[in-house]
């Protein structure tokens, strides 16, 4: 079979399954008793195994198979969850990830995993030291046909127990479809229809959604309450076409009773965590979700390149729209104006849709951090709790692609330099476990990402001394610096404050790269820190990089574009309002002194006629909390423009961040306000 055409899909889906494995493993670590989580991991691993075997990646399939065995054992409560076992499973997932990456890079996915496989086998075969005796009477090898093959939570158990009281019988039915069955989901539904006439389905494995999406091999299990007897039931199920076998085992009160010793352990833990009520409540909610999930959100996978092409074509349209608008104002024809106006409105909607299509939740970046933190905290012997807030916040894909590495740097920095060792924390009267909060939220046309830790904070004296020693600042500038400016010195290049260079961070190349990357994305980064109580690194990013709103201004014959996101206000001031302070012209803007920047001078615009001296047009712009007034000849108006780069030849032009093509076909330069405010 030629599998190459499926390779891309295989890689994508494998990544997703591995990601979900990692996430669920982390959840399981926090909640070792919750066997439904194990089920989730098991299913992901199982699908992965099937896919990789089909694609012919045997090492991948083998390792997944071994891991699956261990998970199966955990799921069937043959072995308990311990940190040691989780470590091995995590290791396997790491190996699997490496393999998938290798395949994606064109390799064959082969990798030496013997030690991990050996460990997995050891766990599976039930090495005494690792295995916690959870099940009292579990027959070790037979797979326990008399026992329950499905894992039930408390809620389901209660339902089953209650039904016994009402003279219902509980069965576990294992239905196997024929191998050549084409419409598996349809058969499942037919089986369910048969069953629902006779009684009530309590639980299915895999879940109903997965069954409907055909995410199972050929066998599925159903827990069923009815008053029918086994033979009739079996006959009825077998009537459905393409059903190969239907094994029915009766559940007795005894088979639950023997399980009773396990739940009390759970109950002892739960009141402390106050999770039990939440858990119970979430059940009906989940059911409701199931229903709505079936109706809504159908998705298709689209190649990113196609979206890029769509975006490029749309950008062409935006330029033509600008051209049409300027023609229609010139011609001043009523019907033309109306048509152009209508077209502009539709294009506005279209633009929104295209832009949102390219939006990706930051989750795709954030979801690799829990595992990273877990590893780091082990390496550094620190206790760290990572909280993620606002993972659903959406950003343009181009920004998402770039933001991952800077965030890794910052988080490593917070964990390594920020959070202290547990002893040091206790000595300071803080809880031994440090907290790192990763927060994302929208504000206006920007997305903010904050990394907050409750660690040591920035030692300002140390930073300042180091900056002076390394020649990053001079003594005079240092004296005049605010606390915030001192904090931000750690972003300067060639700066590293850690006394010891550790493996995690502190090579002194990290943070200045972070700053450059973020600024190249049109964002900025600031630091707030209080010594001994923590730091906040705050990153501001534009929502999108390709189409922005600007204010067009004119200086002599030249047109420049100023991004609306930086503009606070435009105003026209009289000559007398301009004051002088230390050779710097300033104005009084709503009670604050704002320095003036004459764009004409900055951009060395050739003058043919002197500008009118009586009035000045000023655009007040902002960078963080600082303001500046850009003096121009006149305002033209607001417009949506497509951002274009100046190309590889013209790079690092002072105060110019890019170019755009105007409606008349001419190029206008985009002013980089951040460079104009020091």
């Amino acid at each position: 079979m030629d599998v190459n055409q499926y390779l891309e899909m295989f890689i994508e889906e494998s990544k997703e399954h591995l990601q979900s494995c990692s996430e669920q493993l982390l959840a399981l670590e926090k909640n070792p008793e919750d066997l439904t989580i194990v089920g989730e991991i098991f299913r992901s691993a199982h699908t992965l195994k099937g896919m990789s075997a089909t694609m012919g990646f045997e090492d991948l399939a083998n390792l997944t198979h071994k891991m699956e065995n261990v998970l199966d054992a955990i799921r069937n409560e043959k072995i308990g969850v311990t940190p040691e076992i989780l470590d091995v499973v995590f290791e396997s997932v790491d190996h699997l990830e490496e393999m998938v990456m290798d395949i994606a890079a064109g390799g064959d996915g082969k990798r030496d995993v013997e030690s991990t496989v050996a460990l997995l086998k050891q766990i599976e075969s039930g090495e005494e030291a690792v295995v916690a005796p959870v099940v009292s009477e579990a027959p070790a090898e037979t797979g326990a046909p008399a026992d329950t093959t499905l894992a039930y939570d408390d809620y389901e158990k209660t339902i089953i127990m209650q039904s016994f009281e009402q003279a219902f019988k509980a069965y576990e039915i294992s239905v196997t479809l024929r191998d050549d069955c084409l419409l598996k989901a349809a058969r499942v539904i037919m089986v369910f229809q048969v069953l629902e006439k006779e009684g009530e389905i309590v639980k299915t494995s895999p879940t109903i959604e997965e069954l409907e999406e055909e995410k199972f091999d050929s066998t599925f299990h159903v827990a069923f309450l009815t008053q029918e007897n086994v033979e009739d039931l079996q006959a009825k199920i077998m009537k459905v076409s393409e059903v190969a076998t239907a094994d029915i085992t009766e559940l007795t009160e005894a088979s639950f009773a023997t399980k009773e010793p396990a739940p009390p352990v759970e109950e002892k833990v739960e009141p402390a965590k106050a999770q039990a009520p939440a858990k119970q409540e979430s059940k009906p909610a989940k059911k409701a979700q199931k229903a709505s999930a079936m109706v809504g959100s159908k998705t298709i996978r689209v190649n990113i390149e196609r979206l890029d092409i769509l975006m490029n074509l749309f950008e062409e349209l935006v330029i033509d729209r600008g051209r049409l608008q300027s023609i229609s104002t010139e011609v001043n024809h009523n019907e033309l104006n109306e048509t152009v106006e209508r077209m502009s409105r539709v294009m506005g909607d279209l633009q929104n849709i295209i832009l949102t299509m390219r939006m990706v939740p930051v989750e795709t970046v954030f979801n690799r951090f829990p595992k990273m933190i877990r590893q780091l905290s082990r390496e550094l012997n620190k206790k760290i709790n990572l909280e993620i807030i606002g993972a659903e916040t959406e950003l343009d894909r181009t920004v998402i692609d770039e933001i991952g590495d800077p965030l890794v740097h910052l988080i490593r920095n917070s964990v390594d330099h920020g959070i202290e060792s547990p002893e040091a924390r206790i000595a300071k009267g803080k809880p031994a476990e440090g907290t790192v909060v990763l927060r994302a939220y929208h504000s206006g046309n920007h997305v903010f990402i904050e990394i907050e830790d409750d660690g040591a904070g920035i030692n300002k004296e140390k930073v300042l001394a180091k900056a002076l020693a390394k020649g990053v600042v001079s003594q005079e500038t240092a004296d005049a610096m605010t606390d915030k400016q001192i904090n931000e010195l750690i972003l300067a290049s060639g700066f590293s404050t850690a006394d010891q260079i550790s493996d995690v961070s502190g090579r002194g190349v990290g943070l200045d790269v972070v700053k450059t990357t973020i600024e190249s994305l049109g964002g900025n980064i600031s630091i707030d820190s209080i010594q001994d109580s923590g730091s906040i690194f705050s990153i501001q990013l534009p929502l999108t990089l390709s189409i922005i709103s600007v204010m067009l201004v004119e200086i002599e014959q030249e047109i420049y574009a100023i991004p609306l996101s930086s503009i606070i206000e435009t105003s026209i001031i009289k000559k007398e309002e301009i004051l002088s302070a230390h050779n710097q012209k300033v104005i009084n803007y709503r009670g604050t002194v704002v320095p003036l920047v004459f764009l004409e001078e900055i951009f060395e615009v050739p003058r043919t006629a002197p500008a009118s001296d009586e009035f000045h047009s000023v655009v007040v712009v902002r960078k963080g909390e600082k303001l500046a007034g850009l003096v121009v000849d006149s305002f033209i108006g607001q417009q949506e423009i497509v951002l274009k780069s100046l190309g590889d030849y013209l790079t690092n032009i002072f105060a110019i961040s890019g170019a755009t093509i105007l409606g008349n076909g001419k190029v206008a330069l985009i002013v980089d306000c951040n460079a104009l405010i020091k």
Partner: protein
């Protein structure tokens, strides 16, 4: 020129600056445009005239007269922009006129004579004789080099 020595001849575009004729291999030329509106880019070397909108792509423009320190001249009807591609970037050169496509015999290319005129030595990769004409072959990478550093 080293890359094309195996071939017998090569097609070049001939353009004029002052009173001399220069040549660029056709394979490097993306197009020849009439003069259009050029947007000045501030704080660039004086030979960078600015950028143009070349069918939706913002393309930098270099005035070869300024680059070769020739006296400036008024733009005329014959003035052209030759778009060349160098290492994946497209750049336009302003020239007095671009009038010819000719085949030059590889054997007729000689290293440049010691004294060739005002054009700086470093930009020239050789000189080709064609009947009674002298064509100066340009080393395109060198023309751009200062800014890229």
């Amino acid at each position: 020129m080293s890359t094309v020595t195996e071939q017998e001849s090569m097609k070049v575009i001939v353009f004029q600056l002052e009173d001399k004729e220069y040549a660029i291999p056709v394979s490097r030329v993306q197009g020849i445009e009439r003069l259009m509106h050029i947007t000045r880019v501030p704080k660039t070397p004086n030979y960078v005239k600015g950028v143009i909108n070349l069918r939706g792509v913002v393309t930098p423009i270099i005035d070869l007269r300024e680059r070769f320190s020739l006296p400036a001249s008024d733009n005329q009807d014959s003035t052209r922009i030759i778009i060349v591609s160098i290492k994946d970037t497209e750049v336009g050169f302003i020239v007095d006129s671009a009038n010819d496509v000719v085949d030059i015999n590889m054997k007729s290319i000689e290293p440049q004579p010691e004294v060739v005129g005002t054009v700086e030595e470093e930009f020239i990769s050789g000189v080709a004789r064609l009947n009674n004409r002298l064509l100066i072959l340009l080393q395109l990478e060198k023309v751009l080099v200062t800014l890229q550093q």
